[in-house]
Amino acid sequence: MKIEIMTGNEAIARGAYEASCHLAAAYPGTPSTEILENIADNYADDINSRWASNEKTALEIAAGASIGGMRALAVMKHVGVNVAADPMFTLGMTGVEGGLVIVSADDPACHSSQNEQDNRLYAPHAKLAMVEASDSQECKDYVKAAFEISEKFDIPVLFRMTTRVCHAKSLVKLSDRQEVAVRKYEGNPRKYSMLPANARVRHAKREELLVELEEYACTSPLNRIEWGKSKKIGIVTSGISYQYARDVFGDEVSYLKLGLTYPLPSKLIQSFCEDVETIYVIEENEPYLENKVRALGFACVGKDRLPLLGELNTGIVRKALTDQPDPEVYKSEISAPPRPPVLCAGCPHRGYFNALRKRKRDIVAVGDIGCYALGINEPFNGFDISICMGSGFTVPIGLAEALKKQGDQRKVFGMLGDSTFFHSGMTGLVDVVHSNANVVLCILDNDITAMTGHQANPGTARSLTGEPARVVSIEAMVRATGIEEDRLRIVNPIDQTAMDAAIDAGIKAEGPFVIITQYPCALIKEVARTFVGKYCVIDQDKCTKCKSCLRIACPAIALKDGVIQIVDRQACTACGLCMQVCKFGAISKVGE
């Protein structure tokens, strides 16, 4: 048997392969993104995989495959489940033909997310089965189990991961793929056409099946008791928290380690809790397990001592639940300088934010989620509001009304990227046009989904698996909504003359106005190749040290050893933005 060290995400991909998953669809989002990338890289012959334009479409594509008889996987980050919630809740009623597994990758502590939310609460709400893994081996094994549970109990399975499970590596024993044939599509309108009459019947059926599933959960190998040296302390836990508990308490205590966590196995929890003296419930974020333990009538230690916010770790668990001292920590007299993430050298968003900043007094800007979110930092302070994907085009509509009502003359600008436009910006554009909103919408098209690590999107000429794909034209879509020539500017954002003119035209316009910036992400490999050997240089005789070039916050330019210089020639792409902000003509390009 082959053993490999894998991330949880790699193990999910492997598990899908071994389980004979036939189709996988996803929209990228940290920490889930690598699951589909791994499927495409390693199992493309066996699993039909694709990026969808958002999580709702991803889940619906997977649902169609499942209803058609395939084993199907839909993958998303935690907030993606909010987007996919509409089909997900109804699929909870319909059930499945081929197994349907929905991966939700949660991000406690918001390492790379706009919020912290515990998606375990979705399972009881949408009436889905739920599975949680605590390391890569379990990721692989439990995905296989999830497909089986899904088919056996006619239910979609929510596979709940967290950042530390997704991105941690541990050893995995590989198995062969067990071929499962696609089930023949028979068609069953009463089960899959959710009109009220059918929906009522399905709801009753779902409740019946959940009772059966809970019976199963009490004996499932995914839920196990590990008796330790003593029954004085019994720990109820799931997911990564199990690992922290193990690190702190070792074999001294007993564990109820839960892997099938909806429906929760009441009888099993009851018998474990009766057998131990004191119950600790160790879990991140919401008191999901704790509420169950309490509802069953047991007192326990949980969120009264463990934090509700952020991640747990071994140290937090130790401090909260034992009287062992914290390890001593070294402290130095000096501390590390802050190292905030920045827009890369050559990033097109820098040109946009630099131009926007010049008209700050006339504009209120609304941002969105993408690399351009970094524009909120110094020195650009590029927007005031950023809520969720797509909101960059819709929040401005209401905000403009609010400003108008209070006599605030400033123009509201909204911004989002190409991937975000396809995800949920298109509908906002339609709202703006149809309601004749007096706002300026900016689509920052860099040819790629950059923030999450360069995934293809409908505007890209290749698919997830590298095949040529038909490009959906953003410009054509904008024009199709009725935006006329004089309400549209398509500009190179590095070209400050054009960028300034577009922003000024937007400020002056009455009613909807759209700016599309077009310039590729500097990290795209084929693009980066064209920069090799090109960089800017600063003529020290002409430089007056006015620092204008430092105010564009380019990581290739620095004040070092008393002079302003291009400190990183490899990073510099010779985009030329710094040349345009230098009033003394001190900067020029080399290598063209």
Binding site: I3, I5, T30, P31, H111, S112, D135, T163, R164, H167, A168, K169, S170, L171, I240, Y242, Q243, Y244, R246, D247, N313, T314, G315, D326, P327, E328, V329, Y330, K331, S332, E333, I334, S335, A336, P337, P338, R339, P340, P341, V342, L343, C344, C371, L374, P379, G453, L523, K547, L550, R551, A553, P555, I557, A558, L559, K560, V567
Partner: protein, 197 residues
């Protein structure tokens, strides 16, 4: 036996490849191994950490404050950021390399002086290594991570497998020789350093 290793650096310095090679070697040596890293903003010049734990049986994939047996700082000031994770009596290997964060570049704050002296004052075991210079002399600064890997493997006394061969397998073919030399240079540097001490 359980060992905790923290790698800390700046996006683009090759911490991820380093940890990949190290964990592959540890697996080959028969250890239980876990590794944890936070991706995300790493490509945008932020600070990156990778945590590796190995031993007979490992549970948590991440390391808490005061728990790392060794820290390898790929960038000088990142050593300060990693310091709270060091166990009492632990060792810290610091690359000489300085990479200015944006607030330093724009002159808003100063890059700290005397980092090494400060570390030496606080921690007993500090190994200062010019991995960037060594790699540059060997042909490409990008091999600095493998110089550091060599020193780390020497520190951990991980005998029993051919590390040079493993490095050769895991780097791009055209960079094989350079990286094998880089590994040897780091390894020898550590051995020479401890022989002196």
């Amino acid at each position: 036996m359980r060992k905790n290793i923290l790698l800390i650096g700046v996006g683009g310095q090759g911490t991820i490849l380093t940890s990949k090679i190290l964990t592959a070697g540890l697996v080959e040596l028969g250890f239980d191994v876990k590794m944890s890293e936070i991706h995300g903003m790493s490509q945008r010049g932020g600070s990156v950490t990778t945590q590796i734990r190995y031993g007979e049986k490992i549970y948590s994939p991440n390391i808490g404050e005061g728990e790392a047996d060794i820290i390898v700082a790929f960038e000088r000031s990142e050593a300060l950021r990693g310091l709270p994770f060091l166990k009492q009596g632990g060792t810290i290997i610091v690359n000489e390399r300085e990479i200015y964060p944006l607030p330093v570049m724009t002159g808003a704050i100063a890059y700290p002086d005397n980092i090494i002296e400060n570390l030496q004052k606080t921690v007993g075991n500090v190994l200062f290594l010019e991995a960037d210079r060594i790699a540059t002399e060997l042909g490409n600064i990008r091999a600095q991570n493998i110089v550091l890997l060599g020193a780390l493997v020497a520190f951990l006394s991980l005998d029993g497998i051919d590390w040079s061969e493993l490095v050769g397998e895991m780097v791009p073919p055209r960079a094989k020789e350079l990286n094998q030399k880089a590994f040897a240079a780091g390894f020898d540097f550590y051995r020479a350093h401890t022989a002196k001490a």
